[in-house]
Symmetry: D2
Subunit: 369 residues, 4 copies
């Protein structure tokens, strides 16, 4: 039960290691009839690709996805969709002492504790490359959602101490700068911060925010499969994420009921909506028709070039430095991963919720005259 | 798929509404041979009971649990354990306008949106009483963990703006004051804050912190079933929880790699441990041998006596006040719920992880000579 | 993971032992809006009740079901439905040597092998009373199906060597005789056979057949969750069932392709149907629009009064006789259990299949104008 | 939820169509430390390969498996193992009228009924090639079992009316003749039968039997996840299987309790065993220490060259003949598929059962001194 399955209805299984033959995902349960081609998925993968700015890994991985099954004549068939990205660069290299050391902040030690040994090449299964499967599957989920009028969009909300200013929020800007920040000035300041971190042989963290719009009210289940709980699990399962909050999140813990409650009202067309959205679009674990808004806290890249204390497999204390190409920040590359996981979660719950009413069963299985 | 199942190996299904005949849970997959009696469970239920202080509901619910199956001659048999708490007070009452109104901050509107109608009596399935099943099942999980040397303990970390002071931290104090705060002075200040909130016909939120000690390294799965992701889902599935963070959480997003990484070292007996615990006891989703530490942000009680704007089922805007007994804060009652969900999560992943190594299969299924 | 959960979408968890406080089931995922009362369920439970003829246990158990949650104002709410039957007769009795012996054909030995000990009172969890939860939940599933125009009906097909004659098949007769055989003459012969078996202190087996009519084409999933595979698992999970076949079943293994293939044709209204139904209503694991027909082979009651050789917990060989009230045949009481399991399976797959087409997602989640 | 996932602990997801780019499987939850190489899997795949005798397809598919992840330095790592077989022969061909017709006995019609359209090339997902993923994953499961001293072996028990004679049973012979029959004379007779069927442009069915030896008592769960129920589902999920029975199966329905019950006794070393094995190695759904024995009924190949009546997508009745290479019998190629599914099932339940006793948790997680 190594936990590489996500979702109940739209169910994916990812596989692959950083320096193995490749990485991929199988998507089981995609509705039949969705137009789909490799370009739909490649677009998402390209957004997580390193080498897009001086603050992300310079390696040109050029991850090319291949659809191996489940699509026929340009449409999904309802059968499993296998997606694969081959690792181009697998030449055996010298992992030197790394293979016998436990890098601080990495999963080297815990993998050994769990399995007795590990694939030490480039972090193996715990590498950031593991997200390739998530993003590829998420691209499909996002396309299904888009057909239903639902949009999932994430961006960098803060890097280190630099946060975006809500007044300057600009969607276009988020697509323009390499940090995916929807605030030009914050992006510039963050770039300065990153330069400094690199000079210091150090790294920084940050926060990603995600907004899901167009989601109808009624998605999510009342108890353990609340929409926010499912989103939280999805996002916290991404490596380096240390916190999740929805709506006002931790701020609501300092708020008051009179301020935190969102009053209901009617819009011009007489439909029920909320005057504010402190809840972040979810009440009792079920979407309330307002945009879903949540944030993920991402820790600083654990691979840093400065000297660190650690221990080896041989139970000896050592001093180590991690050389090579390392991003001083993971946050910008996590943006598309957050979008992918959010899309997977929302679609899975929408499919799960199709049987919520007798009336809906009649609508699908009702006898035609 | 109404989402009332939690866990894969230690699997529970909860049921019941606030004003129905009762509430309960069935626990499937509890190992055989655990000594268990009703008192073990009652102790936990009593901690979530209202009426324990002037800041929690004054109703004397006196929830009495009954074990209906799965225990024989004082030990669990390996078969499902059904636990039940009958509602004592079910007399039909006048729900007045409440039944036709959507209370702000509650799930009234979203239940209607999902199911077309709802059990409006006392919040129905979305009532805080829903946690009875969680706590009852969690008491069993906690007992299994205790037998393995693992302790799960939660407490109130902050109420509104009042936070505990780490220097004054005292476990005994957490058991003494009605707010479960491990800091006497903070508890006193918080009591003042709550009095003020009640006078203002308002409510406040807060933060619960939980520490799991004694957990061996190696628990949790590498990708989607990371220990922190599973905990996050578990905790976020509790009503009113709006945020979750592990270790330094959102603070790590403002930190640097050199500070956030925990150096490994050897303890006196030559075992590997960490010098610090910014990670909160988890690396790559797998427990690292240090105590697990996480926090949950809890929103202010949505039921407040002051006037609010809302809408009715008849699509008319209204002004409403929610009268009756309402806690000005949910946080203290959530403490035991957080413990319960944490215990359920950790045990479930420990059971799931038993097949992680061939050597362990041999240990269980190996041929005896 | 004691395996007391069935279904993914319409998910049930059963609990209870033969001589514990009671037995029951929780049903999670029932669509909201189904009219439901205790009588709907009681009717099914009464059919599995012993004491209905001289060939079934004479004890008047009178199992009364109580609905504890999930139903409000006469309709299901979408939340878990807890059903409970209390055991009336739990007085402590002398289990004598039985508790230390392994009865041939029973699960006494295997429970000990698995768990180290067992609840030996009346077979504990492996008693036939375990089916109470199945039947109670199945009654709800059957009611949902009925609303969709689908009928599930089982009957006794053979007892020992006595089989019904297809030419004399009569649905009404199946409801008239205590053996549920749709052939009066076969029922009379079977009664004679049973009398003889009782005189011989012996027991006999038999076959139950089930027909599901009104099922639309398209239910079931292509690979592991084929409709027939799911049905097979459901039926084989009933104690004493040793075989399952669909359509021509084992006979098809002796057939030829030219005979076994069902030709397609058009009916008068121009709809596609099959000229024959050797397949039993399923092609490639998916319903083909013809009635589903399957059979379950049920072994003779293992509890017999004649002398048997066995072994005790103390590893001593012994000779034993099982006295008390024992049915010389289980088959008639299994009829309603087979119906229940079939209904649960079909409904679960129908719910799972609601997301099979993009068009169906639009039908449920499509934007209203 | 297209149902391409099998197993809870040892969980696989298969993918691929007959004439797509390839087929494969991802195995999640394989214990770490199992020696594994491509040859281990290739051996199994070669056994399902067509073209091995004149009674199976003459095409030289030469399915070559590639391990893409989860194995490092010759051992499984505990992470998902992706296995892939590329289809060599994908040239676009003329599917002529086949694509618009519903072949009798095939899933053409039901796929269209479910999804609205289908991948008609060579049967798409419902082709026999779908079993490649099952067999590849099953080879791994079988290797884990073998390390634990458990052997899974299947063979052809009957073809058409020709059955093996138990007195002439010979394991070696099963490996010698192309029909996998452990009885030379029966194999010769069956060859004659198949020649005749081919001349008649017809096909025949048969029965596969499987024996699992070395399985300890205690595997399987008491209620819905009974070992025989899980096996039944696994086997019935293989295309063309129409029946499943364990031990005496349908014969037990004609038996008597005194004959069908297996008496317990002590063997020479004082261990409990059974004198007979009518139960087929399972009591109450849990293995009883005797060999597991079960049978699968397989229908005649639906693709036959003789004329058949059918209907097209255009709702017109037609007469059709299916030309091309078709096996007159599927049974011999199903033998290894049955073994694979049995191995997957047994291993999954063994992993699930590791948490059955508190004592076993202590054995894995107990504190070391």
């Amino acid at each position: 039960m190594s936990g590489s399955v996500f979702g109940n209805c739209f169910r994916i299984m990812t596989w692959g290691e950083s320096h193995g033959k490749g990485l991929g995902v199988v998507v089981d349960g995609c509705p039949a009839g969705l137009p789909l081609c490799e370009e739909d998925i490649q677009t998402y993968l390209d957004r997580r690709k390193p080498g897009q700015s001086k603050f992300t890994t310079q390696r040109q991985e050029g991850d090319q996805v291949e659809i191996l099954s489940g699509v026929f004549e340009g449409r999904t068939t309802g059968c499993p969709i296998a997606l694969e990205v081959r690792n181009r660069d697998q030449r055996s290299r010298d992992y030197g002492k790394i293979k016998d050391l436990y890098r601080p902040g990495h999963a080297d030690f815990t993998f050994d504790a769990k399995y007795g040994f590990r694939d030490y090449r480039g972090g193996g299964r715990s590498s950031g490359r593991e997200t390739i499967g998530r993003v590829a599957a998420g691209a499909i989920a996002a396309k299904v959602l888009k057909e239903l009028g639902i949009q999932v969009r994430a961006y960098t909300c803060s890097i280190g101490e630099i946060s975006i200013c809500r007044e300057r929020f600009c969607w276009e800007e988020a697509g323009r700068n390499p940090l995916y920040m929807p605030d030009e000035r914050a992006a510039e300041e963050a770039e300065q911060l990153l330069k400094q971190a690199m000079e210091d042989k150090d790294s920084v963290g940050g926060v990603v925010e995600c907004i899901i719009s167009g989601l109808p009210a009624g998605v999510g289940e009342p108890v353990f499969d609340k929409l926010d709980a499912a989103l939280g699990r999805a996002i916290l399962s991404v490596g380096a994420v240390k916190g999740f909050e929805i709506g006002d999140g931790f701020e609501s813990a300092r708020s008051r009921g009179s301020r935190n409650n969102d009053a209901f009202c009617l819009n011009k067309s007489g439909r029920i909506q909320k005057k504010t959205n402190h809840s972040g679009g979810v009440l009792g674990g079920i979407s309330d028709g307002a945009p879903l808004i949540f944030r993920a806290a991402i820790k600083p890249t654990p691979s840093i070039a400065s000297e660190q204390r650690s221990v080896g497999r041989d139970r000896q204390e050592v001093t180590m430095e991690i050389h090579g190409r390392h991003d001083p920040v993971i946050v910008p590359r996590a943006v598309v991963v957050v979008e992918a996981m959010a899309a997977l979660t929302v679609l899975d719950l929408m499919l799960a919720g199709m049987g919520a009413r007798m009336e809906w069963l009649h609508r699908i299985y009702g006898m035609e005259e």
